[in-house]
Amino acid sequence: MSAETIETNQFAAMQKRLQTLTKVMTTQAPLALTAKETVWTLNKAKLYHYIPQVPKEQRHPVPLLLVFALMNRPYILDLRPGASFVEYMVKQGYDVYLLDWGVPGIEDKNLKFDDYTLEYMPRAIRKMKAVSGCEEFSLLGWCIGAILTSIYASLRPDDGLRNLILLTAPLDFSRKEELTFARWTDEKYFDVEKVLATFGNMPAEMIDYGAKALKPVENYVSNYLRLWDNLENPLVVESWHAMNTWVTDNIPLAGGAFRQLIVDLYRNDRLMKGELMIRGERVDLGRLRANLLAIIAESDHITPPCQTEPAVAKIGSADKEIYRVPGGHIGIMAGSGAAKRTWPHLDEWLAQRSK
């Protein structure tokens, strides 16, 4: 092969790499494609019902409601065909619902955990019960969604909740030396009121920076090097594109809820101390009676295992299990290993309790 041909081939290959790079950096991947219908809305919140894909006789009768964090889009649970937890669960015969909190506007700056757990969740659950025709249900909460579901399950233990799944649940804030967020948001350095007086809600950009700054090299350098190294591998590029679309699609956190997260939880650990008050009711994790599965990501830098394990011990359920998975905060549910480890275990555990 002549030197000129080699040069031309190299130029064409480089051009193709640059085209792929431009595409994944400047476009949004098609996500959240599992067929669904909207069955309920309130303010910005929506309840989606995923269309069943298996015959009725093969379906589990108890519906499953997914509740994700407040400051990220919930479609991480339905990322892309073949790599979607929702799609997997629908195919396993579950009647799946997803509560999307929506994007809070300035008019929602006073929304608190109180509103989310005692106004929005009970209404969405009521609608889910009406649509599914089943009085019992399972609940899956992830990250801050796990805080909300734990609060709800503790305050309303007789509402028909049969199974509770907590994913990377930040419930215990006592070991401050292991929590970088707790250090950053300490009252010595961080003025919550000043932030909220300026912005109303906690801006999405600040939340995004906070999450990425926990692992700056991985998020700002290694992540892009990984893409560059694999630009000729369509599988890696597709997966990277989907994840990048989700990671860059941030939403603000309602001011009231952010204040509670920082003051009540990060600074004062009120949930574990049994001092957290929601609309005048004390949240007692000991009152929670649903069957419990707590999934912990062993390399989670956002919610380290020490935030979940002690809380599980406090929860009053008779049937409880902790399942540890190798991986990070998001990777255990949306990474390449999720379909091999987390999802099958979750399905196995839930299937036995959804008859």
Partner: protein, 144 residues
């Protein structure tokens, strides 16, 4: 691009990648430790505080000026929209409460209809339709 070295093929690109990986790991570890220090928390807090100290009064005065200008032009302002949005959410909640009540009524009616259903085949005899009536009345009572 590989070279023979002691009978073994050596790929310089792979060696460079391995070196880069090792360097990245060390860098990531040291940066991870650095952001988890009191000094970093203090510095980032100070930067944020300086930003807020400068931007808050500017933002507040800009908002005030905008409200005044819009009011002079008889145009709705942001607080007007916020209050409207809050009222709409309250209305939505009322509607949702009503929807909940309707669901309960539907369920109660369905229960009554189901419990009254076995009486239907017997309705062929002339005396029995009367028996079915109380059930219908019950259903009506349930809807109130």
């Amino acid at each position: 691009m590989s070279e023979e070295q002691g009978g073994k093929k050596v790929d310089p690109t792979e060696q460079l990648l391995a070196m880069r990986e090792a360097y990245m790991n060390v860098w990531a570890k040291s940066m991870g430790e650095m952001v988890n220090t009191e000094a970093y928390a203090q510095q980032s807090g100070a930067v944020l505080d300086a930003f807020l100290t400068v931007s808050q009064p500017f933002k507040a005065s800009l908002e005030k000026a905008m409200v005044n200008a819009l009011q002079q032009l008889s145009m709705p302002t942001r607080p007007d929209f916020v209050s409207l949005a809050e009222r709409l959410t309250n209305l939505e909640m009322r509607l949702d409460d009503m929807d909940g009540k309707l669901d309960r009524i539907e369920r109660a009616t369905a229960k009554v209809t189901t419990s009254a259903a076995p009486a239907r085949p017997k309705a062929a005899s002339p005396a029995k339709p009367n028996r079915a009536r109380p059930a219908k009345k019950k259903a009506r009572r349930g809807t109130k």
